[in-house]
């Protein structure tokens, strides 16, 4: 993340071999409603993989399905080549998939420290522990005895990230970190991402705020009504293409009309 063009160059080198997390042709439903249609993606070690899209595009469903909270209709999810599609969320955590859920979902009656202790109850061995989370978020140590429900939204989001980190995940899923938070707080929370990456955590995030996603992502994936409209590194993708992939404007980018444009799933030139 040092200079704008360096990560992209790294990615070209590294994005080969077995992906750390692979989603193959995933289709998922909410009752009768189809939320995801044939979505595939590959996350490689060191990626900050951002899934963008409008409200109801299926972003959160995708993340919940990867974490095991939602059962897909068809398709498969692989972690480091091993199929985890049928596994419960708690087994996936042990395998290395942790998630910061939308709305933070802390254990409100538990203290900050107890939330982190629950997070580390079934942790994999690794560099993260409660002490290191306190170093990452320096305010937290002094307020570790406070009930999570009494914290502000931004503080709760930090505890939620800490709770997922202490499990020492290989892939960290972040669902709508910015939801309901002031822009300054959002920027501060996203400011911790480089530290996580340096510690070897790979990040798959869902973000409605496209500019925020573009600031941090090494790879973007746009969903529109549950289907992929754009996938690739953010460099070299024009704002117009992102906009059309996001809103589904006809004749441009992924939504190819008869008159031109590129077919879906095509990667932009790198």
């Amino acid at each position: 993340m040092s200079s704008p063009d360096q990560p992209a160059a790294d990615q070209v080198k590294e994005r080969t071999g077995t992906p750390l997390l692979e989603v193959r042709a995933l289709t998922a439903h909410h009752g009768q409603l189809r939320a995801l249609t044939d979505v595939s993606l590959s996350v490689f070690p060191g990626d900050v993989y951002a899934i963008i899209g409008a409200n109801g595009a299926g972003k959160s469903t995708l993340l919940r399905t990867i974490a095991g909270l939602h059962r897909p209709t068809t398709g498969s999810i692989l972690l480091d080549g091993a199929d985890v599609t049928g596994q419960r969320p708690e087994r996936r955590l042990a395998a290395g998939i942790a998630m910061v859920p939308e709305g933070r979902r802390l254990f409100g009656s538990l203290t900050v420290e107890e939330n982190l202790q629950v997070g580390s109850s079934y942790a994999r061995p690794g560099p993260w522990n409660i002490e290191r989370v306190y170093e990452l978020f320096s305010w937290m140590r002094d307020r570790r005895g406070q009930r999570a429900a009494q914290l502000s939204g931004g503080e709760q989001q930090s505890v939620a990230i800490g709770r997922a980190l202490v499990a020492n995940p290989r892939v960290l899923l972040l669902d709508e970190l910015s939801l309901g938070l002031a822009p300054l707080i959002v920027r501060r929370i996203y400011g911790t991402l480089p530290g996580l990456l340096a510690a070897g955590v790979t990040v798959l995030l869902v973000e409605q705020d496209v500019s925020q996603a573009l600031r941090v992502a090494t790879r973007i994936h746009c969903l529109l009504e549950g289907a992929t409209t754009l996938e690739g590194p953010p460099e070299g993708v024009s704002p117009q293409r992102i906009e059309s992939a996001y809103f589904g404007l006809a004749g441009v980018a992924g939504v190819a009309g008869p008159g031109g444009g590129s077919p879906p799933h095509q990667e932009p030139p790198s």
Partner: protein, 290 residues
């Protein structure tokens, strides 16, 4: 002085009611299961104690050593099988299933035993007492049961707030899905909570068998009602509220009996209804925000 005596007796019996109620409160607080078979389970524990005493010839007072562990295991197994299966089908289903369980238990007891009432004979211990002044006589047994109830509540409090599994129980009660994302198998945690609830109800059932008598239908027509009232008076989810609820119920009953011996349970019911009107969230409960 007879009024003071009534209040003291009420406080002591209130400990027993709290012992009945804490398991009910725990199961509702953690898995949102309203266990309508709770009272029947206490009666089953009584019958099991009778059986254990007959087979092993241990003194009735010590029957809990075998009955309580059996109940803890049964609670875990029942939660992981029947109750979990009903939970997967919605909260209303658990109500129907535990109601069905209650009917099955009562009829099975009638089938294999009889409608006659039983009690756990503990000889002179049941009547041994000490006196304060001319009119107040306190049974050692009631004092012992009250102490056991307080110790159980203290232990439960300690376990829930300080142990690793207690922490996981509270986490699962707060947010089951978020707990899963932290690697917690909530079904296992539910099983542990049910095991604890069953252990406490077994203890309460045995204590009841010593101070009073039980028949196959005692579970629903008396014990379940008392447990519910103690929980509602005290406020859901609070252990000490449950103790306060049990004591208020006990004192109301004793004072009612003092006025007219036929009105003992009526007085308890009236106080329960009164509190439900003026403080529906219970003594320790928070005002509902929804």
């Amino acid at each position: 002085m007879s009024w003071v005596n009534a209040i003291i007796q009420g406080i002591l019996i209130g400990g027993l009611y709290a012992l009945f109620a804490c398991g009910l409160s725990l199961m509702f607080g953690v898995m949102k299961v309203i266990n309508l078979a709770h009272g029947d389970l206490a009666v089953v524990a009584g019958y099991l104690a009778v059986g254990v005493i007959a087979v092993t010839h241990i003194p009735a007072v010590w029957s809990f050593i075998l009955v309580v562990p059996i109940f803890a295991v049964a609670g875990y197994v029942l939660q992981r099988t029947l109750i979990q299966a009903s939970l997967n089908r919605g909260v209303l289903t658990t109500l129907l299933v535990t109601f069905g369980l209650s009917v099955v238990i009562e009829n099975a007891l009638l089938q294999f035993s009889s409608a006659n009432s039983h009690s756990l004979g503990i000889g002179h211990l049941v009547s041994d007492s000490f006196s304060i002044g001319p009119q107040i006589s306190i049974a050692y047994l009631l004092v012992a049961i009250f102490v056991v109830a307080v110790v159980v509540l203290l232990g439960l409090q300690y376990f829930l707030s300080l142990s690793r599994h207690g922490r996981l129980i509270r986490a699962v009660a707060d947010d089951r899905e978020a707990a899963q994302l932290s690697g917690v198998d909530y079904r296992h945690i539910f099983g542990i909570a049910a095991g604890i609830a069953f252990a406490t109800v077994a203890l309460a059932g045995i204590a009841w068998g010593m101070v009073s008598a039980f028949a196959p239908t005692t579970g629903t027509d008396t014990l379940l009602l008392f447990a519910f009232e103690a929980v509602v008076i005290g406020g859901l989810g609070s252990l000490w509220g449950t103790l306060a609820g049990g004591i208020i119920l006990g004192v109301a009953q004793q004072i009612g009996a003092q006025i007219n011996s036929a009105d003992q349970f009526l007085a308890g019911q009236l106080v329960f209804l009164l509190l439900l009107v003026i403080r529906p969230q219970g003594l320790t409960g928070q005002q509902s925000t929804t």
